[in-house]
Symmetry: C2
Subunit: 248 residues, 2 copies
């Protein structure tokens, strides 16, 4: 059963030198564009970066992660109200899409398309990697890709033929993520049970030692996603969303 | 080829009375949980609503769309930092996740899982419908589902066996959504060309006549997604995101 294969998926960060044929890429994107979209407005755009120089321009925005410059294709998925607003303006329609709800709606549209693209790509033997750095350094991406008003980059996906099949990473037990009828908040015992496997992994113990921490959670709060960074990138992202035309 | 089938997908709003076996639903969710997630933090939760009374409680938040009460299963996908923060607190780790960037990161996680669930469900013969109303009436959903601090509903999906296969809706031509290397902004001629097919559809002409408008765009701006609604729901959504603990 095909969905069984989905359980085996893993993020691929290293790619073969092989190019992705343009026809194949366009086919995958076309498949992705059939994903659900709010009111069939299709509030997204995808920027395709293949050119080496342009990848180098994008790389600093992604903290020079090698996956950006070594992937044959880098896709930047954007929340895009520009096209729709331009249509409204040309059709004597007074839009009211310069607000947070509209930005968030376009965010949803862009992410559903991104995930549908990734699934289609993986089914065709390609490997993908999402870059969360997109929202940290959105202003740099906006400049590099020449994004106009009402367009905000939401996520980036690198794509290519896998050069390695890394070990699958852990996931929390499904019971931790599913709530039956109502949200059942977690007791301390629940948290201990849910995180037990993750905490017992050799990699987790390695992270703790390497970073000189007491617990795995401290690796996240003090090293990987610290408060100062989250607040700094919040300020930058909020500022640029507003500058791109969404007022709140 | 399986991805060819994706091109034929359509939203399903009418379902047979058949229940979805619990084992199947959990299997589909487990498949979805293999979707990419930021730093493997899995910042989401899914609330499963099957109970008729609970569906009735959720229905007003979705403007009583019949799909909510007639679907065998309603899934509310939430951005969830509660579980992760509780873990941090129990592991002597001082979190800094009460900000916009963290909320947005959890939003991304939740939407990738939602879309992966939908794809898996469709591959198993189920039909799905996304409800954009989730962010409009988030406070009602938070109350109905008892969502704690740091949990915000992001989207809702109704699921069931299709009782009808509606005609496929239109999509903009792919060239309108893909930008090669850099964003190429749309000229008036581009917009005319991109929207020509949509505007020429009999349904579009029907919407214009029914709503007594001049253009299809006016149906969107004046009837379906008017400025006053967008601003009203922006205020509500921003207020509740902050009340749930994300400060900005």
């Amino acid at each position: 059963m095909i969905i069984e294969d989905f359980k085996l998926r893993r993020t691929i960060r290293k790619y073969k030198n092989d190019q992705i044929p343009e026809k194949m890429l366009n086919e995958l994107l076309e498949v992705a564009f059939r994903a659900s979209t709010t009111g069939n407005m299709q509030l997204y755009s995808v920027i395709v970066t293949r050119d080496e120089e342009n990848k180098k321009k994008l790389a600093p925005a992604h903290f020079n992660q090698p996956t950006v410059t070594t992937a044959p294709v880098v896709l930047t998925f954007c929340a895009d109200f520009n096209r729709f607003i331009k249509w409204c303006e040309l059709r004597k329609a007074q839009h009211g899409y310069d607000n947070f709800q509209s930005f968030y709606t376009a965010t949803i549209d862009a992410l559903l398309v991104a995930q549908q693209f990734c699934t289609a790509a993986e089914l065709c033997g390609l490997g993908i990697c999402y870059l969360g750095t997109t929202t940290y350094n959105a202003p740099m991406i906006i400049e590099a890709l020449n994004l106009p008003k009402f367009v905000v980059p939401v996520t980036t996906v690198t794509v290519g033929y896998p050069a390695e099949i890394p070990a699958q990473v852990d996931r929390l037990p499904a019971e931790a993520l599913i709530h039956d009828e109502q949200y059942k908040d977690y007791t301390s015992e629940d948290i201990d049970r849910i995180y037990a496997e993750k905490e017992s992994l050799p990699e987790s113990k390695k992270y703790i030692t390497e970073n000189n921490k007491e617990t795995l959670a401290q690796v996240f709060t003090d090293v990987r996603y610290p408060k100062a960074n989250n607040e700094h990138f919040s300020d930058i992202f909020l500022k640029i969303i507003r500058e791109q035309g969404f007022q709140f």
